[in-house]
Symmetry: C2
């Protein structure tokens, strides 16, 4: 499949009805439980069995999965292998996501050096910066491209995600450029709320909000490790 | 009050019974609503009125606030000014939090340059690094201290929060050093789960998990801006 065909497929998929947030969270729980059972050598599971460990009713599981068409068979349950593949596909964990990074300053360089991205299926396929002193140089072993090349490279390489690590004044215009070039999701590190309407998904990484959360926890006497996802 | 007296007060407060997570979330909603009403010139509010806008029952509000002793008066409600001050105090928003940053590499430098911290009441009071080439130099206008000074400086300056931006191999030992020196909360940027037991609070900023969340959202066709706190 050509690069742009992959993008078109995901674009088409993205246009369907919106899935509720709690469903998304549960799907990741289902996948974890399916993988656990597969690792234990199991082959088949009923909705009721699947739900038992994670505290979800079989009705809820069937309702959640019904968003994505026909799954399993009444009275027979699901083949774990099939269910795992479908969940991985639904959650976007079955492919490598090409990503454009914009902003190769201190934060951008820290992101480029971040080990887990590649392991989790993310590839930084192009890096851009507006600073003529950086453009053309290699930073963290990556060639920095001028902003003028962004539209063409994002299209040619079928890049679907963008990482915005520019100063906050430049964040909105950067997001607009990425979306215009075809990016569907933006990971935003700038301390500003991006306005994207229904043109894209945005996840903001807000260092301040995390430090505030920590201060709350300390003030309130909460102890232990709390990941932002929990 | 001397530096260490402030720390002792917070330590004492932190040892009381643990507050449930959903209560913490609602307290921040209450504070936002109180501030909105204060800005509108209101003076007094009942539990019922307070709950109406944010979809929480008056019983729940009274139960949440009862964790923190006596509030308001039956039949009269709360003075918004008092309630706001108490909530700010409970949530740790009434003081400046002194913070030690460990790890002055690319990510540490990006964090030092992060504007919103100071605005939100966080002061980076000391910066440490294990690299002898960095120690003693100025990075982003801050003097880098050797790890050997960490214990003394954290105690002397009554630093209560630590930011860990070291490579993942060094994250746990760094966290242990900070906690041994008296730090109560750690903002962890290393891609590793810190084991702190009940000695401290930890919030992990996991770039990979955020990018995964974005990929889910794109796969599932969710659009718009979704902050990690929502």
């Amino acid at each position: 499949m050509s690069g742009s065909a992959v993008g078109d497929k995901i674009r088409k998929m993205s246009s369907r009805q919106q899935i509720p947030g709690p469903t998304v969270k549960r799907l990741t729980l289902y996948l974890r439980e399916v993988d656990r059972r597969l690792a234990a050598g199991e082959v088949r599971v009923s909705s009721r069995q699947l739900g038992q460990e994670i505290g979800v009713t079989d009705t809820q599981i069937r309702k959640d999965l019904s968003w994505f068409g026909q799954f399993g068979q009444a009275g027979v349950g699901y083949l774990l292998d099939d269910l795992g593949s479908r969940l991985r596909q639904i959650l976007g964990k079955d492919r490598t996501w090409k990503t454009a990074l914009v902003g190769a300053g201190r934060l951008g360089q820290a992101i480029m050096s971040y080990g887990p991205f590649a392991r989790e299926g993310f590839e930084i396929a192009a890096v851009f910066d507006a600073d003529p002193r950086l453009v053309g140089t290699e930073v963290v072993k990556r060639r920095i491209r001028p902003m003028a090349d962004l539209d063409r490279l994002v299209r040619d390489r079928d890049i679907l995600l963008g990482i915005v690590s520019v100063p906050k004044e430049a964040a909105q215009v950067t997001a607009d450029l990425l979306i215009d070039a075809g990016v569907l999701g933006i990971l935003n590190f700038a301390p500003v709320r991006l306005e994207v309407g229904d043109r894209a998904s945005v996840v903001t990484v807000d260092f301040s909000a995390r430090l505030e959360q920590l201060a709350f926890q300390v003030s309130l006497g909460l102890k232990g490790s709390i990941d932002v996802d929990e």
